[in-house]
Symmetry: C2
Subunit: 373 residues, 2 copies
C-alpha cells in the first residue's frame, strides 16, 4: 500500500538508528535477519499527494527501498490496468480509497522478486496477482503481505491476470446473483463494448443465454457491432436504433429478457428497462453517462420491475477470499482455453500519462489501458 | 359486472321470446323457477359508454332488472368508495378494466337482497362485501356470483367494509412482503395522509415499528401532522422541511429505515430514498405527482438500494382468495376494536358527481369519498 510504504520508510529511518544504539554487535547466522533487514528494490511509482484531476495530480517518482517483513512478498510488477474506479479514487470521489499520499492502481500481476522469512507458498519467479485488489499497483515493485498475492498457472497471460478481478468477475457475478437464468433465457445490457460487457456476452454464451446489447451511436459502431457479434452477441443495437415505439418488436427469436445490466444511466438505462419482461430486474453497476436512472411509476406497479445495484467490493472481503480465488481461477482457465477474451491496449509504463489521457476519454473512445512495466 | 349486466339484459330479451315460443305451458311447483326467473330490482348506476374524463363521461341511469341465476347473489349496496384506480379505469389508462359500456366502482359492501336457488351460505339480510373487488359497484343493486361475496360480522361498519381491500390490505402486505421488519425497526413513507399512509402508521405501530412520514406542503399541514401523530406516527415532515443537507440528522431516536413506501414520485420519492439506510428497499405503489422516480447511480452501487413495486392485484387472484379474506377479517377485526381507522367522507349517492369532483381534486384536498346508497 502506498501510504504504508511511506509510513514504513519513516519507521525504517527511525528504528534503524534506534537499533544501532541498542545493539552494538551484529551476530552471525540465524539472527542476522533481524538486523540486516531484507529490502525491496527501489520502485518507480505513479504517486499523488492530493485528490484532483488525475492528469494533473499524479506524477512519476522513485520510491526508496522498503523492508520485506517475515510475511511479506515483494513482486516485480508486469501489468496493471487503469480502471474507472482508479480514476475516481484519485479524484477523491470513490467511497473506498487509500489515505493520502498514495500510489495509484488497485489490480495487477507480476513475478515474485523476493519473499519474507515466513513465506512458504511463494518463491521468486512465481507468477502472481494481487487478490483481492488493493491500493498501490501502479509501480515497478510492490511489497504486500503474502495473503494478498494469489499464485497463478505459469501460462496465464499477464495482462489478463492483471485485469480479471474487477471487470470479468463483475460479469460472472451479475449473471449469477440476481435472477436464476436457464439455458435459452436472455439478458439485455447497455455499455456492451465495455470490458464487463464483452465478458457478459461470452459468459452468457457459454451458458446458452442470449444477449441483447446496446451501444452508443458513434463512428465505428458498425465495427463495434461486428466485434460483439463475433464474441457471441445475439443482438446489438445503437441507442438511436432503439428510438422506436416498441423495442420488443426488434427481438426476433430472442425471448424477452428477465435481467438487464446498466453501466451508463440516462436514456441507455431507460432502454434496458424497455426491453425487460414483466417482473424483470435491472442491475446498475456503473454510470458512465453521469446521468441518473429514471423510472416511471407504472414500470414498478404494472410491469413489476425491480431495480438494484451490484458492488463488487462486497465480494472482495476476506471471508469470501477463497471463493473469489476459485472464481478467478475459473475465469483464467477460460482465458487460457481461448473461451474468454477482451480488448486491451498495452501501454509501456514510460508512457503512463498518455495511457491515462486515453482512459480519461481525452483521446476519443479507446480500449482498456493496461500498463506494462 | 356492469357489462355482464348489459349482456344479460340483451340475452334475457333474446331468450325470453325463444322460451315463449318453445314452451307454451308454464308448469307449477319445482320447475317453475326455470321459467319464472328470479329477478333483481332495477338498479340506479354510475354508467359510462366511453373512456374519458370521469366527470364528463359518467352519468346516472336506471338499469333494468337482471336474472338472478342459481349461484348468483343480489346485494343492495350500502357503501362504495371512489378510489384513484376507479378514476383511471374510467379514463381508460388503468391496465385492468372492464369492457365498455361499464358501471364504475370496484370495491363495496351491502346487504343481501336475494339469492339464487343454489346459494346456501348467504341469506337475505347478511352483511357482505365484494371480495375480491370487481367491476360495477357504483349502483344500488349488484348481482354477482356467490363466490364474489364475503360474509361479514354484523357489527362491521359498512364504510370500512367497503374500503378495506384496496388501501388497508396494501398497507398490510407492503409491511410484510419486502423486508423482514422487527420490533424497533423503522419505515419511511411519502403520501402519509393517504388512506394507505394512515393504515401503514397504525399497522406498523401495532408491530412496534417506527414510522417516518412525509407529507405535502400545504395550508393545514400542521393539522395533518397532528392527526398522523395521533394515529401513532413517530416523525412527520413536510417536503420543504426536508430540504436540508442531511435528512438523517432529523431522525432523532428513530433508527434509519430499511424500508420505504412511495405513492407520489418525483421529489417525494427522492426524499424516501434519502432516508433509507444502506441496503434499503423502496416500494412504489402509486404516482400521485405523475412524475417518475429518479435514482442516482451511487444509490444503487454504493448505497445498495433496491427499488421495486407493489401491485395489489397480484394478491386478488382466485388462488389467494381464502388467504386474502383471512387478512380482510383481521383488518376488519382491528377496525371493530378501534385499532385501525382512517379518514373518509360519506357522500349520498344523489350527490355522486360532487363526490367525484372532490376525488378528482377539483375542490382542493379532500378525504377519501365513500358513496352511501
Amino acid at each position: 500500500m502506498a501510504s504504508a510504504r511511506f509510513l514504513t520508510l519513516k519507521s525504517i529511518h527511525g528504528t534503524s538508528t534506534h537499533t544501532h544504539s541498542l545493539r552494538p554487535r551484529i551476530q552471525i547466522s540465524g539472527k542476522v535477519r533481524a538486523f540486516c533487514a531484507l529490502m525491496s528494490p527501489t520502485s518507480t511509482a505513479v504517486f499523488y499527494e492530493n485528490h484532483g484531476p488525475p492528469d494533473t495530480v499524479t506524477k512519476i517518482i522513485q520510491l526508496p527501498s522498503v523492508e520485506i517483513k517475515a510475511n511479506d512478498v515483494c513482486v516485480k510488477m508486469l501489468a496493471s490496468p487503469i480502471n474507472p474506479s482508479d480514476i475516481n479514487r484519485i479524484e477523491g470521489v470513490y467511497p473506498v480509497r487509500p489515505p493520502l499520499p498514495a500510489v495509484g492502481g488497485y489490480e495487477g500481476a507480476g513475478v515474485v522478486h523476493s519473499v519474507g522469512s515466513a513465506v512458504q507458498a511463494l518463491s521468486p519467479g512465481d507468477l502472481v496477482m494481487v487478490s483481492p485488489p488493493s491500493p498501490g499497483t501502479w509501480q515497478t515493485h510492490v511489497v504486500k503481505d503474502k495473503s494478498l498475492w494469489h499464485k497463478l498457472h505459469k501460462d496465464t497471460p499477464v495482462e489478463y491476470a492483471a485485469t480479471v478481478t474487477i471487470n470479468p468477475l463483475t460479469a460472472l457475478r451479475m449473471l449469477e446473483d440476481f435472477v436464476d437464468l436457464k439455458t435459452g433465457d436472455a439478458i439485455v445490457q447497455n455499455g456492451a463494448t465495455s470490458m464487463v460487457g464483452q465478458c457478459v456476452i461470452q459468459l452468457a454464451k457459454l451458458r446458452g443465454i442470449h444477449t441483447i446489447n446496446i451501444i452508443r451511436d458513434r463512428s465505428g459502431s458498425d465495427e463495434a457491432t461486428e466485434k460483439l457479434k463475433k464474441l457471441g452477441a445475439d443482438e446489438v443495437f445503437t441507442e438511436s436504433q432503439l428510438d422506436v415505439r416498441n423495442v420488443k418488436s426488434l427481438l426476433g427469436n430472442v425471448p424477452e429478457p428477465a435481467l438487464g445490466f446498466n453501466c451508463v444511466g440516462g436514456n441507455a438505462a431507460s432502454l434496458v428497462l424497455k426491453f425487460l419482461r414483466q417482473g424483470g430486474t435491472m442491475v446498475t453497476y456503473g454510470g458512465m453517462a453521469k446521468k441518473p436512472v429514471i423510472v416511471s411509476t407504472s414500470s414498478f406497479i404494472f410491469k413489476e420491475l425491480s431495480l438494484t445495484g451490484f458492488y463488487l467490493q462486497n465480494w472482495l472481503t476476506s471471508d469470501k477470499n477463497e471463493e473469489c480465488r476459485e472464481m478467478l481461477d475459473y475465469l483464467l482457465g477460460l482465458i487460457r482455453e481461448g473461451k474468454l477474451k477482451y480488448n486491451m491496449e498495452l501501454a509501456p509504463f514510460s508512457e503512463f500519462h498518455t495511457a491515462l489521457d486515453k482512459s480519461l476519454g481525452k483521446l476519443g473512445s479507446q480500449p482498456k489501458q493496461v500498463i506494462k512495466f
